[in-house]
């Protein structure tokens, strides 16, 4: 009979190994899924994971890796801080939308003036927008003890409606012949989040994501606040005795997550996407949850997990056009990944022992 035995300490080896094992199992299960859909599983998995990196058109897809990975990493870094402390912000999608709205709003307010300070102002506005949106669940949690999971999620739907209202109303392009959507920021030089090095996909958001990874690493490993975050997550009672202020921690974690998500939204709207439109958000805020867990809530891990998840997005698009694989299959593939990760995670904290019926 199989028996679980709790390890005195989480296994180091398995901490690093579980994401890899989970990815492999997901590839197998995903392959089976694609086979059920009538596609060649080896070809489909190859298209998703190999084609964007080493295929014939890799020169086009590789920069996309950074473009798609940056918002995921940026958001996931913020989320991971809260997740570590047991603060569950799952409304990053909403904070991302609001950041895009405030960022683009500031940029559009200056149109058609050209000045160097417009873009930095937009970044600040985006971060503030996301921060403010995240402050709603944070303050309600601190003041009234309201469940932050439900409030932050409800605010996603509110933000989506706000996005629709803004792209039809206040932010609509006055020269757009009545079509919904704002002016295209790509054509407005001072507000355009252009590539820093042409042809690499390296826009300002990518730099911000790398910076966030480094800062989060320093925060968690070298700063007392990071220590408090880890302590609260691993031993909440001990943290309280040690004098950690839970309210401050909630405000900090949710606020940071919101600001980073807002910045991600702002970089997206002023760069790759270009305009505020009704269908601007594509679920990065939710996928980032998977990224955060897949990266083991560790900044460096999140960096790799974000790039891997970006790969499934890009490879998924290729598989969609080349093999006719439905987009939903990729979404399900990503969901499966989180499932398997959580299941395999058992091995980190428990040892599986084979025990005979009559133990001596």
């Amino acid at each position: 009979m199989l028996k679980l035995e709790k390890r005195p300490q989480p296994s180091r080896l398995w901490t690093y190994l579980t994401p890899v094992v989970a990815v492999v199992i997901t590839m197998i299960a995903g392959g089976a899924l694609f086979a059920l859909l009538g596609k060649n599983p080896v070809e489909a998995i190859g298209t998703i994971f190999w084609e964007p990196l080493f295929g014939e058109f890799a020169f086009y897809y590789r920069p996309q890796l950074l473009v798609k990975g940056a918002p995921l990493i940026l958001i996931a870094i913020g989320l991971s801080l809260g997740f570590r402390a047991g603060i569950w912000n799952i409304g990053a999608e909403g904070q991302y939308i609001i950041g895009a709205l405030t960022g683009a709003g500031v940029g559009l307010a200056f149109y058609p003036m050209e000045a160097w300070f417009i873009f930095p102002l937009m970044v600040i506005a985006g971060a503030l927008g996301g921060w403010a949106w995240a402050m709603i669940p944070a303050l309600l949690k601190v003041r009234f003890g309201t469940n932050e999971i439900l409030v932050s999620l409800m605010l996603v739907y509110v933000a989506e409606q706000l996005l629709a209202k803004m792209s039809l109303g206040l932010l609509r392009n006055p020269e757009g012949h009545g079509f919904p959507g704002s002016r295209n920021l790509q054509q407005y030089e001072s507000a355009h989040n252009a590539e820093v090095i042409a042809g690499t996909g390296m826009h300002w958001g990518v730099l911000a994501a790398f910076l966030a990874v480094i800062l989060a690493y320093v925060l968690l490993n070298r700063h007392i606040l990071g220590y408090h975050i880890r302590l609260t997550g691993e031993a909440p009672r001990a943290a309280r005795f040690a004098g950690v202020n839970p309210a401050r921690l909630i405000l900090f974690c949710l606020g940071t997550a919101g600001a980073l998500a807002g910045m991600a939204g702002m970089f997206e709207v002023s760069g790759p996407s270009g305009q505020v439109s009704i269908d601007f958000n594509v679920g990065y805020g939710f996928t980032a949850i998977i990224v955060a867990f897949l990266g083991r809530l560790h900044p460096i891990g999140i960096l790799f997990a974000g790039l891997l998840m970006a790969l499934t997005y890009i490879g998924g698009e290729i598989a969609q056009s080349n093999l006719g694989l439905p987009a939903a299959a990729i979404q399900m593939f990503q969901g499966m990944l989180l499932f398997f990760l959580l299941a395999v995670d058992l091995l980190t904290n428990f040892r599986i022992r084979i025990k005979t019926a009559e133990a001596a």
Partner: protein, 306 residues
């Protein structure tokens, strides 16, 4: 603006219909949470139920069979959650989120051939005298069977929790799983049953949206109903009777804002569409002052060490 176009009888009747899906999902989740498990995957189970029910009804022409398979679909998805949290001892919050993300992907994959199709109509109750009563008949006695089933289910859950041995064991497991285990109750088995029940209820609720309330299939059509159901359980302080009250409140808000949209009130449509979510937040804030009601073992991992 023409408020006189809003018919109160019709409003109340559609309130009952609008409340049914969240009522079903919430009563299921209530049982799950009373057993000490927090399943955040309600949205995923609902949408899976929605497409299972829709697809089966369209293929077989029988809404009853659709509802049955929807419950089964929701329960199968819940089983995944149970495997993760009860056997692999994974974090319940993360597992619930995974379930929702997975369910949304699964449903849109399954639903690809079903966009733009009309499902077979679900028969409505038609009692000769009662249904013809002037006001009451329209409001109370002329719905499809699921509306009454949901109400009966709430009553059954309430009575089971309050008066039966099964209910007592379920509550014991939810309040203190170590004590329940020491008394010889099978904590994991009880929770497994509760989780499956919750999944089946969420599946039914989802199918009600796609078969009766809307009725058609679109991706992501549950639009947060599962999350509202979760909020409803908090709102109800984990009491079955109050779930009913809450569901009617939210049903009322939803129906009212739709009616106001149709009547052309000067408030933009988008702001009206936000209102159910905003009101959920407001209600959560009001209710969260009282924390004492939550089952004591809610969300905690149970592992019997030898």
């Amino acid at each position: 603006m023409d408020l006189s176009s809003i018919n109160p009888a019709l409003l109340l009747a559609s309130l009952l219909v609008a409340a049914t899906p969240i009522l079903l999902a919430a009563i299921g989740e209530l049982v799950v949470e009373r057993s000490g498990v927090l399943n955040l995957g309600v949205e995923g189970m609902m949408i899976t139920g929605a497409i299972c029910g829709f697809a089966v009804s369209v293929e077989t022409g029988s809404p009853a069979l659709g509802f049955l398979l929807a419950a089964l679909g929701g329960a199968v998805l819940a089983l995944l959650f149970a495997l993760l949290t009860q056997f692999a001892l994974a974090n319940q919050v993360a597992s619930g989120l995974a379930l929702t993300l997975f369910g949304l992907g699964l449903s849109s994959l399954m639903g690809q051939g079903y966009v733009g199709i009309k499902p077979p109509p679900t028969p409505k109750l038609d009692i000769p005298v009662l249904s013809d009563l002037p006001f009451i008949g329209r409001v109370v006695f002329s719905h499809d069977l699921m509306v009454y089933f949901a109400l009966a289910l709430v009553a059954a859950v309430w009575a089971t929790l309050k008066y039966t041995r099964v209910g007592l064991i379920l509550r014991a497991v939810g309040e203190n799983h170590d004590a329940a285990h020491a008394l010889g109750y099978k904590v994991v088995r009880v929770r497994l049953m509760a989780i499956l029940f919750g999944g089946a209820c969420a599946g039914l609720g989802g199918a009600y949206i796609s078969l009766v309330r809307v009725p058609q299939w679109t991706e992501g059509m549950t639009a947060g109903a599962g999350w509202i159901a979760l909020a409803l359980v908090v709102f109800a302080s984990w009491k079955a009777g109050r779930v009913l009250l809450g569901a009617w409140l939210f049903g009322g808000v939803t129906v009212l804002q739709l009616n106001l949209q149709a009547a052309g009130v000067a408030i933009p449509v988008e702001y009206l569409s936000m209102s159910p979510y905003l009101i959920t937040i407001v209600v959560l804030v009001i209710m969260s002052a009282d924390k004492s009601r939550a089952p004591a073992s809610l969300g905690r991992v149970f592992h019997a060490s030898s």
